[in-house]
């Protein structure tokens, strides 16, 4: 092996060639094709398809659906995932192994299998309905399947690991003595959390939010199986346009709009992390 300090920058750059080539062939080119299609009119370049898309109130409802569901999924993942990440970082030995396995192993189960499993859980005679009846919260069985609540619950379950792991990796690095030092200065556990733990885990939270939001904003299989055709998001609309309506221009347009939202969120959250980092 050549020692790293002997490598020139250009030689190190060679290491990136396979990944760059792969991305260009299988990602950049199709994406460019998609982008080009959305701007293609009969007489050349045009914004027509975007004008038509944004003129239709139905599409605004679809955008609203997409952002609302993605935000709710992200919120549920954050609320459920944050305590798990902290517990995981503080666990030792076998407890940590079991926790980590139970977070990572579900990733190996396909999303379709999970969505079908949620169909069983969420239907009228499903576990959730029966449990809520037994607790006296519901008077009669109701189905959560094909509702937004059911969709959010199912999607949050699938994406939860992508919230837990980035937060965990940040919590793990926080010096435990910081909280102890705050305690000896008279800070209550709640005050310690707000002033020390939360600000220091913010980068992990932002990463997790970015992950889950970009996954949830573009999910296709889960809404198809858990809520059905009557509820459209940008991703399911894109799928419908390409697969059923054979309208490539509409499909390209919705795909580009979706991409624009996802990229905006990623850039905004990265910027936010930088901002927070620089005030420290």
């Amino acid at each position: 092996m050549i020692p790293p300090e002997k490598l020139k920058a250009s030689q190190i750059g060679l290491l990136a060639v396979p990944a760059v080539a792969y991305l260009v062939i299988f990602y950049v080119l199709p994406l460019t094709w998609l982008l080009a299609h959305s701007f293609a009119g009969r007489s050349g370049f045009t914004f027509d398809s975007y004008a038509r898309f944004f003129a239709d109130p139905f599409n605004w409802r679809v955008i609203g659906n997409t952002l609302r569901i993605a935000s709710l999924v992200t919120l549920v993942c954050l609320v459920v995932g944050y305590p798990v990440a902290v517990a995981l970082a503080q666990a030792h030995g076998i407890a940590q192994v079991v926790l980590l396995a139970s977070i990572i192993l579900p990733l190996s189960i396909g999303v379709i299998v999970k969505a079908f499993a949620w169909q069983i859980v969420l239907r009228r005679d499903g576990v959730v309905s029966q449990a809520l009846m037994a607790l006296g919260i519901w008077d009669e069985p109701q189905r959560l399947l094909f509702t937004e609540t059911g969709l959010v619950l199912g999607a949050a379950n699938v994406f939860l690991p992508f919230m837990i792991l980035p937060i965990y990796s940040v919590v793990k690095l926080i010096d435990a003595r910081l909280s102890e030092a705050a305690a000896t200065l008279g800070a209550t556990p709640a005050y310690r959390f707000l002033r020390i733990t939360l600000p220091l885990t913010l980068p992990g939270i932002v990463t997790g939010v970015t992950f889950v939001f970009s996954l949830a904003v573009s999910m296709f299989v889960i809404p198809s199986l858990l809520i059905g055709d009557r509820f459209q998001t940008l991703a399911t609309l894109t799928g419908r346009a390409f697969l059923m309506m054979r309208d490539e221009q509409l499909g390209s347009t919705t795909a580009v709009v979706l991409l624009a939202f996802a990229v905006t969120v990623v850039i905004a959250s990265t910027w936010l992390v930088r901002r927070l980092g620089s005030t420290e």
């Binding site: 010096d175 003595r177 910081l178 102890e180 030092a181 705050a182 305690a183 000896t184 200065l185 008279g186 800070a187 209550t188 556990p189 005050y191 002033r195 020390i196 600000p199 220091l200 420290e280």
Partner: protein
Amino acid sequence: MAPVLPFLDIVAASKRFGVATVLDGVGIGVARGEFVSLLGPSGCGKTTLLRIIAGLLTPDDGTVRLDGEDITRKPPHRRDIGVVFQNYALFPHLTVSENIAFGLQSRRVDRDEIRKAVAGLLDLVHLTEFADRSVRLLSGGQQQRVAVARALAVKPKLLLFDEPFSALDRKLREVMQIELKRLLREVAATAIFVTHDQDEALTMSDRVAVMNRGAIDQFAEPAAVYHRPATSFALGFVGLSTRLAGTVRDAPSNGEVLVETSIGSVRGAGGFVTGTPVIVGIRPERIRIGTGSGNSAKATLTDVVFQGSKTFLHFAASSGDQFLVETSDPPRIGLEPGSVLDLTWSVEDTLLYPTESTR
């Protein structure tokens, strides 16, 4: 009149981690305004004791009383005990003043009052021009001063230091020791200081507690710890010494005993039964070169180590035993390695300890 309780009073504190007993029935009393060091090697339980005092650990047995109040089970944030941690544990996302203000803010002290207190503390630790700087951009010595100021800000009843100088280089450490001593005198603080550095403990403390394997071997003024170590562990851990193995041969009733060693008979003070195996210890500055009354030995000079104001002379007796002699005024002649010289030390300076026990 009822006996006055010490300001900090720890009675029979024990702590076990699994099968390991880290603290074994430790008791210690610290007076108000006193500066006490817990001195010992790593693993002796000194940090565990400190954490029990701070409330970061709960002892399995025993009680901790501060200012007459039993605080054994009180959570740390209601104890009013400040801690300066080993690596300072400064809040990395806050500035110097925000770090110092933290304790006052958590107690919801009035904003103007906080500003005034922080300004005063910054002045006290000479960090005024660094007020708005991130603590991550400070040097080790500056971080250390921030940690002290942060702990002082809430005016704690008691200040604890967990090896606060261990990350500093030797020169800076000596400066900081003097500075901290001055600072604590200015605010009239009661302080407990954990260290494995005997020089630090002897320099700074009013009293030193020498800790060994979860117990306190000796709790006394620095001079007493050095000149009259209570155990052979204290003799070995604090300062240098010559050590000889021997057996008590005769114990007349005058308080003196006769010990048979490989260099011959040695007289010392102590109440030992005949036949007891003992360790004989002598401090290096207590041995004189030349003949005289008391104990004596003939030994060959092997090394001369010049250290400026003092010189260490290493000797070997024909039995193989090593002698260490410290002198500030070495004889001008006859100091070549290989010369055989007479060594003399008094009976009072002959320290005796039972061999087996380290307590």
